[in-house]
């Protein structure tokens, strides 16, 4: 049973390749330069054959593939199904639902331009994110620890925070010198609010006894803030950062649709206007992959920083 399991994705891929090669195209779609789907399937096939073979020697690979084999097999079947209803039988409008060959073709043939778009989006996102996160930590920590700041700043946070940062577009566009700085500001704003709120509420929830103990151990005020308050609030801060990340993606996509001359959100919008839906899908796939990589990195960082939490709180 387990042996079949390991080879399941490979079988599924071979079936898909066979279907793509032997079932006749409907001929309604414009032909792509190369059968890119088959290329991709071949790469996947090589990968899963390698994994299957490795799993006989490596315990870790084995547990992974035994667990995930069914999922990947079905995922490839689903890809295959989409391929059949577009390229083979053309059951959906041609213009909005291009073939996989076209979509992967765009990713491959326009890779340089897409990389350029991705880089400029990345620059914008990272600039905004870093400023937003730092501002969020600073505001959150000072609201959490200083009564004076809490009195004066908290109402501002409460009023300005919940406004979706994209709603600021009309004002931001006229008050910033460049579209880049305007967009970066919007992203920073989107990250700032959840980070601030979660940081300060994390600090508010710390048991007072931790501060009492640390004061009897000789810790001064600032030592308590940074060595007790901040680490104790860290789980909340990560929730804030996580929410901020999601908000920053939304803001990035919207911000790029105004005024900028480059970027992955801009690319999608532009291609949509050109009715080039293969390119739109290509852009979406790139966004999906990039964002999920970013989220994974954030989760890994959290696991590393919050290693002490294992068994205390589960997300």
């Amino acid at each position: 049973m387990k042996k079949i399991n390991i080879w399941l994705p490979v079988l599924s891929i071979i079936l898909s390749i066979a279907l793509d090669v032997f079932v006749k195209d409907s001929g309604k779609h414009i032909k792509a330069k190369h059968p890119y789907l088959v290329y991709l399937l071949i790469i996947l096939c090589i990968f899963f054959v390698a994994v299957a073979i490795l799993s006989y020697f490596n315990e870790k690979t084995r547990t992974w593939i035994v667990e995930k084999a069914l999922f990947y097999a079905v995922a490839v079947l689903f890809l295959n199904f989409l391929n059949l209803i577009t390229k083979k039988f053309t059951l959906l409008p041609i213009i909005y639902f291009p073939t996989f060959d076209k979509i992967f073709g765009v990713i491959f043939e326009e890779r340089n331009f897409l990389a350029l778009c991705l880089t400029s989006s990345g620059k914008l996102l990272i600039t905004g994110y870093i400023f937003g996160a730092i501002a969020g930590f600073v505001t959150g920590i000072s609201v959490g620890f200083s009564k004076w700041t809490s009195y004066w700043v908290n109402p501002i946070v409460r009023i300005l925070g919940p406004i979706p940062s994209t709603a600021w577009i009309p004002i931001v566009l006229i008050s910033f010198p460049t579209t880049f700085s305007a967009s970066a500001f919007l992203i920073a704003l989107a990250v700032w609010f959840p980070t601030t709120v979660m940081t300060s509420s994390g600090i508010a929830n710390i048991q007072n006894a931790y501060f009492e103990v640390s004061s009897t151990l000789g810790a001064g005020k600032y030592y308590q803030i940074f060595k007790v308050g901040v680490p104790a609030a860290m789980p909340h801060m990560f929730i804030g950062l996580f929410n901020g990340t999601c908000a920053s993606f939304i803001t990035l996509m919207t911000a790029e649709m105004l005024g900028v001359k480059n970027g992955i959100g801009w690319y999608i919008n532009w291609q949509k206007d050109m009715m080039a839906y293969a390119n739109v899908y290509a852009g979406l796939i790139i966004i999906a992959v990039t964002f999920s990589i970013l989220i994974t990195i954030l989760f890994r960082a959290r696991d590393k920083v919050l290693v002490w939490q294992k068994g205390v709180i589960k997300w």
Binding site: E212, S215, A219, P231
Partner: protein, 259 residues
Amino acid sequence: MVGEIKVEKVIKRFSQLDGGEVVALSGIDIKIKAGEFVSLIGPSGCGKSTLLRLIAGLNTADEGSLYIDNEEINKPSYERGLVFQNPMLFPWLNIHDNVAFGLKARGVYKEKKKEVDEFINLVGLASFKKSYPHQLSGGMAQRASLARALVNHPKVLLLDEPLGALDAFTRMNMQDELIRIWKERGTTMIMVTHDIDEAIYLSDRVIVMTPRPAKIETCIEVDTSRPRARNTPEFLSLRSKILEILNFAGAVDEPDYYL
């Protein structure tokens, strides 16, 4: 010897939500000798924890003053270490870093690095240095928190029901551990407890407090030599004496008539 505590005419009130006031301590006078092991015992609400917090400097007295070696206490200091019933280890630090916390906070970690290991060994946690608090049992966590307080070489160690959350056997082991550490270090120890046996077993002096008005009822010297047995006649007579003071002796109702 250092670590003498003097409490003079201390009054502490707490205001309540309805505007009223509760007198948590009404005129407390005690002197605790340097190197003495003293227990504060009494029912809930008699102000024993409040007194401990005042000595720690976590709260301030409304009237009267407290002194350590003739210096007035007005804020917390590492010279008066505190151990709560809940170990309150910092969950984000491993045991080594928890114990090292005080030294790092005072900026003397570099010179005194070695002592961290010494105190971890003293409480028998050498093989758990790299563990996080959630991986320890209640007894081990409490030992770690003892080590964390002791590494600062406090003049006085304040113990707020430190063994209250432990099971009976761990508890008795930890009592012996406390005695051993106390003998080895000569630190003044002031312990709040609910457990009369524990108080008699450990202390040089048991201070019995009563609620409403919260004050010291009496001080009982325990002058039997250590190590003490928990079942000697002296032990039991002290025990019944304290129970009587606290009105828990359970007076036998006289029957209305005899046959």
